[in-house]
């Protein structure tokens, strides 16, 4: 039994039994991650009619995505797995979305805030551009790719996880994928007198 959590866009949770999705709960609000994370997980459990003790694995969406919300889901996933003594897996959201488009040359594009985008490129399911940050201008360099909206949720994460497990892909990294350094520079200190 798998619990999938994603807070890359809205806040969602889903429960899978084997390959079958038993439940999916989504809150669309792009700012209410901390408020909704517990309700989403609780809703996913109750809709699936399972108890947390039945879980064998937790999957979290690692982004890339706006950081503040993203961290809520990753924190919840890690804490759930730690509390139950079960493994946690991390899924890169752009990869999970690409999995739904196995044919052709596609560019998964997600909002990165600050007028930038998170992108990743795939050719017939094989990654050809790793997750990276791009401006709208730079997007023109990828005109040979068909653009796919990178919106992700727990259902997409869970489906990817089940597929990736079958391929024996390593998903042990559960860290949030930031792709940007914290936006600060050390201050030199300024004079107070002219």
């Amino acid at each position: 039994m798998i619990l999938a959590i994603d807070t890359s866009a809205g806040t969602s949770a889903a429960v899978f039994d084997g390959t079958k999705q038993l439940s999916f709960v989504n809150f669309d609000d792009r700012f209410g991650h901390a408020e909704n994370i517990g309700l989403a997980i609780q809703g996913a459990f109750s809709k699936a009619g399972i108890t947390p003790a039945e879980l064998t694995l937790v999957a979290v969406g690692r982004g890339p995505a706006p950081y503040t919300g993203l961290r809520v889901g990753v924190a919840a996933g890690i804490a759930m797995a730690t509390a139950l003594g079960i493994p946690a897996c991390g899924v890169i959201t752009l990869n999970a979305v690409a999995r739904k488009h196995p044919v052709g040359r596609i560019l998964v594009v997600a909002d990165a805030k600050r007028k930038e985008l998170f992108i990743a490129g795939f050719q017939d399911g094989e990654q050809v551009i790793p997750p990276s940050v791009a401006t709208h201008q730079e997007l023109e360099d990828y005109s040979s790719f068909r653009q796919v909206p990178g919106e992700c949720d727990a259902s997409v994460i869970g489906e990817y996880l089940i597929w990736a497990k079958a391929q024996n892909l390593d998903l042990t990294d559960t860290s949030a994928l930031y792709l940007r350094s914290p936006d600060v520079t050390p201050s030199a200190g300024k004079r107070v007198t002219g």
Partner: protein, 493 residues
């Protein structure tokens, strides 16, 4: 019928019942008076127009136990369950005070009392021969075990990831991961750096706390988490984790106030917070003066900084003096060799005109600028600059204004107790002057150990435990981070 705390004015009525029931073994009025007025006692009376029964409890803080001193029901009101109601009232009080056991002595020939206590869960543990000397009757010593709640608390409001575990008023674990070093190159806490560090520290810190307490997650009765005030992005990491921990084993969750947590830390040190008290909380993020009449129900903000926090001022002045972050320990060390009276730096919001609107507020921004001006002037004019004198004089100004206002608050509110909390309490001069001035003013000073003064998870767990012990309902699962949460809101439901 109403049950309320007994007062000295109730004594005449009480003595009538006492002498009627216990005749030659009755307590004297003076004994009751000192019991009712005692610091560690709780006496309750049942009233139905008049006093019809009473009961008293004695609990020494940090002993984790209580004693039922007496329990009496007037002759005309017996066998109606009032004895049970009063006993339950005492047990609830003992539980709320953090007691892990309640003891009592009962006459061996008082079958109805023995069966009442037995039905409430008391077990006989000893017998005292001829305890009631007038009648040569034995006393049975009985004990009721109370299971205090085990609470795991999460603190992530700034740069410390704290996971603490308490059982009632008892500290079991206080694991901490600080991201202070990562902020050093920026000269202050960077919210995004702090939030990233929380996420990384989360799992190892939870595991460490459980290991220190020798517990597994399923033995935790409830989760508490600080949901404000603090850095929103940082708080949200703790909240996300806390909600999942609570759901994993279907346990209640309590969203608690970070600042009140600093006051609650004293419970873990002393077994209780002696109330009412003035609390001065000084850190890199807060400088607040509180009047705490009741830890859960009555916390009043008397004043706070209107610009920089005191710890922030230390960091900024350290930078002016070319010292590394965090500034507090650096300035403390340098100041040891300096003259605190060398330069008279301004005391913010301390002029007569400030007393009306800002009597208990603080301002450190002007002080920091004054220090910078002083240093720049000396450097520009090629004058000799004693950094040690600057550090000592600056530190003196901060300590002076903090304690002057704190002690004024004690006096203005007639509260002879001062509790210090927050990271700046590590400052040696602050502790030293606090001791001197409190002694002079006859104020009882409490400073918890340093690991309970700085941000930590145990203080959050402690507030969660206090809420449970007082029988408060848990928070709903939909709460969020509140970066400017008011100190009056101890729990977010």
């Amino acid at each position: 019928m109403e049950i309320r705390e007994l007062q000295a004015a109730d004594l005449p009525e009480l003595m009538k019942i006492e002498t009627d029931l216990f005749t030659s073994e009755a307590w004297k009025e003076n004994s009751f008076r000192s019991e009712i007025e005692g610091r560690f006692t709780d006496y309750f009376g049942a009233f139905d127009g008049e006093l019809i029964g009473y009961a008293g409890l004695h609990s020494v803080p940090a002993s984790f136990s209580s004693d039922i001193q007496t329990l009496a029901v007037g002759a005309a009101h017996q066998s109606k369950g009032l004895g049970r109601t009063l006993a339950r009232k005492l047990i609830a009080k003992a539980f709320a005070l953090g007691s892990e056991a309640v003891f009592l002595e009962v006459r061996a020939d008082n079958q109805s009392a023995i069966s009442l206590y037995s039905s409430l869960g008391f077990k006989q543990i000893d017998i005292r021969k001829n305890y009631y000397q007038d009648s040569a009757i034995d006393a049975l010593v009985m004990r009721l075990a109370l299971n205090q709640p085990i609470v795991l608390g999460i603190e992530s409001s700034c740069d410390e990831t704290g996971i603490g575990i308490v059982k009632g008023n008892r500290l079991l674990a206080n694991a901490l991961h600080s991201s202070m070093d990562e902020h050093a190159k920026f000269g202050g806490v960077v919210p995004e750096v702090a939030a990233r560090a929380h996420l990384e520290a989360l799992q190892p810190t939870i595991v460490q706390a459980l290991k220190d307490a020798n517990l597994s997650m399923n033995q935790i009765d409830a989760i508490a988490v600080a949901n404000g005030p603090g850095l929103a992005g940082a708080l949200m990491v703790g909240i996300g984790a806390a909600k999942a921990l609570a759901l994993a084993h279907n346990k209640p969750i309590y969203a608690v106030n970070h600042l009140v947590g600093h006051v609650g830390a004293d419970v873990l040190e002393n077994g209780t917070v002696s109330l009412p008290t003035i609390a001065l909380l000084v850190s890199g993020g807060h400088t607040s003066l509180l009047l705490v009449r009741d830890l859960l129900d009555d916390v009043e903000l008397l004043g706070e900084t209107i610009d920089d926090a005191a710890g922030e001022a230390f960091d900024k002045v350290a930078r002016v003096l070319g010292l590394p972050y965090p500034g507090g320990p650096q300035i403390d060390k340098l100041a040891e060799t300096g003259n605190p009276k060398a330069i008279r730096f301004p005391r913010g919001l301390s002029l007569p005109k400030d007393m009306e609107a800002h009597r208990f507020d603080f301002s450190f921004s002007g002080l920091k600028t004054a220090v910078a001006r002083h240093v720049e002037k000396a450097v520009d004019n090629g004058l000799e600059l004693s950094k040690a004198d600057v550090a000592a004089s600056f530190r003196e100004a901060v300590v002076d204004v903090l304690l002057t206002k704190a002690i004024n608050a004690c006096e203005a509110h007639g509260v002879k107790k001062l509790l210090l909390g927050g990271g700046v309490v590590a400052n040696a001069r602050l502790r030293q002057v606090a001791k001197i001035r409190c002694d002079e003013a006859g104020i009882e000073l409490r400073i918890p150990r340093f690991s309970l003064c700085t941000d930590n998870g145990a203080m959050i767990a402690s507030i969660g435990a206090q809420l449970m012990m007082a029988g408060r309902p848990p928070s709903n699962l939909g709460f969020g981070a509140e970066s400017t949460l008011e100190v009056t809101k101890v729990q977010t439901l």
